[in-house]
Amino acid sequence: MPAVSKTATLSPAAAVPVPGASAEIVAFRPPVRPALERAGEIVRHLAGVILPPLIVIALSLFVWQLLCSEPGARLPPPTKVVADAWDFIVDPFYDNGGIDKGAFWQISKSLGRVAIGFSFAAVVGIALGVLIGQSTWAMRGLDPIFQVLRTVPPLAWLPLSLAGFRHADPSALFVIFITSIWPIIINTSVGVRNIPQDYRNVAAVIRLSWWEVFWKITLPASVPYIFTGLRIGVGLSWLAIVAAEMLIGGVGIGFFIWDAWNSSRISDIIVALVYIGIVGFLLDKLIALIGHFVSHGVAAQ
C-alpha cells in the first residue's frame, strides 16, 4: 500500500485513475484512522465503565429530589444538602478549635484509630490463625469460641471495654480490634489448612526445619487467604469505629454524625455518610492492592 500512495502523491493522474485531491486524502487517511479508532475504543471503554454508575447516581438523585422536594418533607433534597453543607464540603481543612473541624481532620482522626486497632488485629489475628490452622487441638478448642464471639456486634463490646480500660480512646481501639480480628483469624486458619500437600512434600524432601516451613512455605502459601481476611476485617473495623465514636465523643467522623444529629444538621450527616462510604471503599481497595503486590499477583484484586 505505501508504494501505491507514494506514486499517487508523485504523479496522481498517471499512476492511479483518481483525481489528485482524493489521492492526497487516501495518503493521509491511514495514520489518522487508527488514532481515531483507538481514541474511540478508549472512550467507549470508559463510557462502558463510568456511564452506568453515573446514570444510576443521577437517577437516584433525581428520585430523591422529587421525593423530598414537597413542603414538609422530613429529609432535605440533594440541592438543599449541598447548599446547607457547602462550607463542610468545600473546605475540609478548617479548624475552629474543639471538635469543630473540617472533614479531613475528622476522617484522619478516625482513620488513625482504625490504623492502630486494625494493625493489632492483623498481627494477633494472623498469629492465632496460623496456630489454629496448624494444630487440630487448637482448632477444636478455639474454633467454637471464635464462632460464637465473632457474631457479637461491635457496640456490645463497648461497655465492657469501657469498664476495662476506663478511657474512651483505648476502648475505641479495642472495639475495632475485637470486631476486625475474627475474619482474619478464620481466613488465615483456612489458608494454612488448605496448603497443598505438594508444598509440604517439597518441604519434607529438602528437609526444611519447623521454622523454615513456617516462614518459607506456610506464610507465603496462605497470603491470599490472609488478605481475604484482612479485607473483610478492615471493612468491619471501619464500621466499628463510626459506631464506637458516636458513643465516646471527641473528634472523629462518627461523633461528627452524632453531633450533627444533636444540632439537627441533617445535610452534614448525609455528606458525612458519603465520605464514610468512599473512605471504606478506598480502604478495601488499598488492602486488595497491598495483597496483590505481596502475593505477586496471586491474590485476587
Binding site: 505438594d198 512434600n201 517439597v202 524432601v205 529438602i206 502475593s295 496471586v298
Partner: protein, 267 residues
C-alpha cells in the same frame, strides 16, 4: 559391591480407613543398580505412586524395608529428590528461587553463597531454563514448569532421582522434547532414576528396565523387562527398530492382555 545400591525388600502396604483396611502393595522385591534408569508401569490405582512415595520417605511401608546403599530409608530427604507430577513449584518464588530454596537448604553448610548461585544457574542451564530465571511459575508453560521441577530435583544431587509421572500433564510434543532432555541429562550425569509412567513408549525409550505392576488391590511386581537398546537412543530410529517393537509389544501384552483393569473389562 556386595550390597545392591537400592533394594526394596518384601515391601507391603496397607491403608486403614476407619474399620476397613486395604492392602495396596504386597511382596515387592526389587534391586536397582547405580546409574540404572528404571520405569514403573501399571494401570491407575496399582500402587505405583505409593511405592515411589515409600522410596521417597513420604510414606512408611507397613512391612518390609527399602535400603539405599545399605541404609534403611524411613524419612524424606534430598538424597531421594522427587520430580512431582504436577511440578509442585512454589508460586510465590521465581524459577531461580524455586531451585535456590532447595540448593540453599541442602548445600547451605558446604557451599559458599557464590558457589550456590553458580550451582542453581548450572542446573537451570541443564534444563535450558536459565533465561527464564526471574519468571514466576504462572508466567511459564507447563513444560517449562516441569523443567524447573527437574532442575530443582537434580540440584539436590540425589542418589536416586524419583519421577512421578513427570510428563503426564504435558502435550505430546512437549513431552517428547522433555524426554529427550531427560535422556541427555541421564547420559551426562549417570543418575539412578526411578520413574512412574503410563506411557509404554516413554518407558521403552527411557528405561534400562521396565517394572510392570499387576492390578491393585494387593498389587505386586508382575514382570521386569530389560530393554537392551543401545544408547544414545533416538526416537526416529527406534520407530522401525525390531527390538523396540518387541519390548513395546511385551509391555502392551502385559498391560492389556493379561492385566486389564477389571472394572474397565467389565464395563
Amino acid at each position: 559391591m556386595t550390597q545392591p545400591y537400592l533394594k526394596f525388600e518384601q515391601i507391603g502396604m496397607r491403608f486403614r480407613r476407619r474399620q476397613v483396611s486395604t492392602e495396596v502393595l504386597r511382596d515387592i522385591d526389587l534391586t536397582i543398580a547405580k546409574g540404572e534408569f528404571v520405569s514403573l508401569i501399571g494401570h491407575s490405582g496399582c500402587g505405583k505412586s505409593t511405592l515411589l512415595n515409600i522410596l521417597g520417605g513420604l510414606l512408611q511401608s507397613t512391612t518390609g524395608e527399602v535400603f539405599l546403599e545399605g541404609k534403611v530409608v524411613d524419612t524424606p530427604g534430598p538424597d531421594r529428590a522427587i520430580v512431582f507430577q504436577n511440578h509442585s513449584l512454589l508460586p510465590w518464588l521465581t524459577v531461580y528461587g524455586n531451585v535456590a530454596i532447595a540448593v540453599d537448604k541442602v548445600f547451605g553448610s558446604t557451599k559458599s553463597r557464590t558457589e550456590r548461585h553458580g550451582w542453581v544457574m548450572h542446573n537451570l542451564e541443564l534444563v535450558q531454563m536459565a533465561q527464564a530465571k526471574d519468571k514466576r511459575p504462572h508466567e511459564i508453560s507447563g513444560g517449562m514448569k516441569q523443567r524447573v521441577g527437574i532442575a530443582r530435583a537434580l540440584a539436590m544431587q540425589p542418589k536416586v532421582l524419583l519421577m512421578d509421572e513427570p510428563f503426564g500433564a504435558l502435550d505430546a510434543l512437549t513431552r517428547a522434547h522433555l524426554q529427550d532432555s531427560v535422556m541427555e541429562i541421564h547420559a551426562r550425569l549417570g543418575n539412578t532414576v526411578m520413574m512412574i509412567t503410563h506411557d509404554v513408549d516413554e518407558a521403552v525409550l527411557l528405561s534400562d528396565r521396565v517394572v510392570m505392576m499387576t492390578n491393585g488391590p494387593s498389587a505386586t511386581i508382575g514382570e521386569v523387562l530389560a530393554i537392551d537398546l543401545p544408547r544414545p537412543r533416538r526416537r526416529l530410529e527406534l520407530a522401525t527398530d525390531a527390538e523396540y517393537a518387541r519390548c513395546r509389544a511385551a509391555i502392551l501384552g502385559f498391560l492389556y492382555a493379561r492385566h486389564r483393569v477389571p472394572a474397565r473389562a467389565a464395563a
